[in-house]
Point group: C2
Chain length 112, copies 2
Amino acid sequence: MADPVESNPSHYTVVFENERVRVLEYRDAPGDRTTPHSHPDTVMVTMSGFDRRLSVGDQVREVSLEPGLAAWLPAQTHAGENIGSTETHVMFIELKEPGPASAEPTLGPQTD
Amino acid sequence: MADPVESNPSHYTVVFENERVRVLEYRDAPGDRTTPHSHPDTVMVTMSGFDRRLSVGDQVREVSLEPGLAAWLPAQTHAGENIGSTETHVMFIELKEPGPASAEPTLGPQTD
């Protein structure tokens, strides 16, 4: 599936890359949407608080995240929409090495 | 060498951990120092701007980092001191999988 840097270049920017990781910076404004794209196993660090609707196929999930959190985003494909009133600012630390296969497809970050 | 969570528990807190990564949150105040400790290959995300003196043996390096940066911290042992006038707030995304061996011992983050 699509690399978000290719499919959504106005939102995702590569800020660091080496042989082990790639770090993306994501920014958007209220109402902004992304087209479907894929993430490998990733640690998200929230630089702002935001409200977001994530979807894949007919599955939809809404999340509200506080600033200053680290959350695990298991490898997945999704599209997103900023459904809140604040700008989104997130750093995505993508792991390049192949990890153990996930048991189940997941939508959005682990939040528990 | 020492795990910073063990050696400097008032500064380093584990905020997330799974089989691939451990995420530490670091906070300090001007003048605070850490005792020598080790990091594996790590992505640092700066949540604040700060000025810091890092040392290992007789090697010393001073760094000034802006907020909102992602920097690569190659596996290393060091001690640190907040030599600025601002609080430090950093997220450390530690990679658990063994990486390729570094060519040279390094002190502090890659900043170029």
